[in-house]
């Protein structure tokens, strides 16, 4: 993963007018307080670690952005999006059903659990789900595709791109209160923004 913003770290702005107290409080917790496992079973947790490693691979990172603990925390707290599609299970049940079905797909196709699959096999299996090719005996109609894209992937990327490391990677200005920005035009950049390919 070659970021064009190699020398940019959004956290360098921590003590500048771009980071106010409420933002620092929220990010301190995100960076330093990992929630414990309270919702998933140990087996689900291990499986989800393996799935997340395929959905959001971070082999380039010495310290990967933690994702599974935050998924667990959201589900434990019952914090959802505020709606579910008719005919689909409530949020917590949808996660348990979806993970169980991914595991069953792995057993059916490879005779082992998902966590034991090679990266390429794991990607291929998830690709089948994403394309709507899941085993109808394990999933209700369209449920696999919906779960994979609209619940699993959507939730995982939401956690990754809420982390300062991801903001730095894509050159996002990050928190900017109260300082904000002055130079708004194309190819214009304030001194406290990321410089591309320096």
């Amino acid at each position: 993963m070659k970021t064009p913003y190699r020398h940019y770290d959004v956290l360098d702005k921590w003590s500048t007018p771009s980071f106010d107290a409420p933002t620092r409080a929220v990010l301190t917790e995100r960076l330093h307080v990992l929630p414990p496992r309270r919702f998933f079973t140990p087996e689900e947790w291990t499986l989800l670690q393996a799935v997340t490693a395929r959905v959001l691979p971070q082999l380039d990172r010495i310290e990967p952005v933690p994702i599974v603990p935050w998924l667990d925390e959201q589900l434990w707290a019952g914090r959802g999006e505020g709606f579910r599609h008719e005919g689909t299970a409530p949020m917590r049940q949808a996660w348990r059903d979806g993970l169980a079905a991914i595991e069953a797909e792995a057993q059916r196709r490879h005779g082992c659990g998902f966590a034991a699959l090679h990266a390429a096999s794991g990607d291929a299996l998830l690709g089948v789900l994403a394309q709507g090719g899941a085993d109808p005996a394990l999933w209700r109609a369209e449920a696999a595709q919906h779960f994979f894209i609209h619940i699993l992937v959507k939730s995982i990327v939401a956690i990754y791109y809420a982390h300062p490391a991801a903001w730095s990677e894509i050159g996002f200005g990050g928190p900017a209160s109260p300082r904000g920005y002055v130079r708004l035009g194309a190819d214009e950049r304030d001194a406290w923004e990321a410089r591309e390919r320096e």
Partner: protein, 551 residues
Amino acid sequence: MSAQEMQKMQETPRATRGRAPDVFTPGGWLPMREYRDAEAVDFAIVGAGAGGATLACKLAEAGFSVVVFEAGPFWRPLEDFASDEMAQQQLFWTDERITAGDDPIALGGNNSGRGVGGSTVHFSMISLRFRPEWFQCRSQLGYGFDWPVSYREMAPYYEEAEQALSIAGPVNYPWGPARRRYPYREHEMNAAGLVLARGAEKMGIRWASTPLATVSAPRGQSPPCVYRGFCNFGCSTNAKQSALIVWIPRALRAGAQVRDLAMAGRIELSPDGRASGVHYHRAGAWQFQRARNVVLAGYAIETPRLLLNSACARFPQGLANGSGLVGTHLTTHAGPGVWARFDEEIRWYKGPPNMAVSEHWNYVDEGKDFHGGYAFMSQGPLPRAWAQLLATSRGLWGQTLRSEMLNYNHMAGLVPVAETEPRPQNRVEVTHETDQYGLKIPRVVFAYSDNDRRLQHHAVRFMGEMLQAAGGRDLWTSQDTSHILGTCRMGADPATSVVNADGRSWDISNLWICDGSLFPTCGGVNPSLTIQALACRIGARIKRLASSGEL
């Protein structure tokens, strides 16, 4: 504040013991008048958003006793709002709802709001008037329904709302009838908006700096906008002129009481069939506020839900539902996006998300194979929302998604506010499943009509050509919606509408509605300014009705 402290704050009402949060001062308070539950107030208003907060202000300033009930918290933006997409999900209404139909609408995000100020706390601040003909849509343009008010009647209230919100906009706005200049000068255009401008100039259509409810110069205790770009996640500097910082402090000063974290569950009727008050859940218990008038301002899902959930022996189909129309004719704004990569750095995270607009297709009727219109604006999604759109619209994940995200600073896009037709089958109902208060949860059913699809097809094609003309490459499209409207429409005839032009129920004369539910048609612009103008008008009408003994 830690997550635990945040959680606690969200469960403990702040506006109590004769004081309410001062939104302009960390830890600060304003004195607040308090009414006892047993004391029948002139108006109990359910919901403190664009409709409810505005009306509360107007009625309190007219001398009425007013209590406003808001299901969510009473924020102090300076201390409660982090510059963070994830933490600020706290602004959305995330109680469980079912979404159904051929084109189910994503709920709980941009089209919802929970907290004093409602969704104006996180809205994009786009403040556009309706095209005058839309108020007589059926008779002048041949589709939808006529409103029971004309543009001529609405114009002074648009003016009032624009002044109250200190809208920053162009000296000369290119569309609509002649009007006064906007109260504040327009904002400097960001690069994302300049892409729209460049495309519009190549296509030979007009564009403008979007009239926005965020100040371009100091105003009272609001500093000018600093272009931090988190507008859709709450304004942490109070530059945004939300209902929370504009109407609510005025309402409090005029003697209104706000009850935060107070969820209304049922409207009570007296034996004579008039509304007698509101049952609400606050601080762990059901309570009952007596009132001489009840106003519903919970927006187009919660308002019909409350009417339906208040069904009783006398009105088994729900209150104010003699027409059978409560919950029906739901409209939304379709928002199919077109996105493209540009050679230059756009950095669309800077500035309000929608700084440039074209209303060309709201005002040109020739060359369309559909009824209705759309405005479209430049865009500025933040990384979390952008990654989710890449995942859900393009099915990207894995290394592909991470690579695509590296283009973030080079992206620009256009999204319309695209009109949909009001149709009876698109509706809000209540299910048998109940929520944490024991109230039946809503089910929202929606499908696009053929006309809706033709309109969106036109928008996608036109915006795509424009982005290409502006130099965009690798175009792709997405699907989304914004705003929910029209589920308790106003009208001139009790048989074909839920309330009259004053928002007054045809069936129960002291029951009123004042929010986006009223819209007979949704037009091709964001609704908040029209909701606030309607609230100003309803406030003025109630004052007049009271003085002539017709309340």
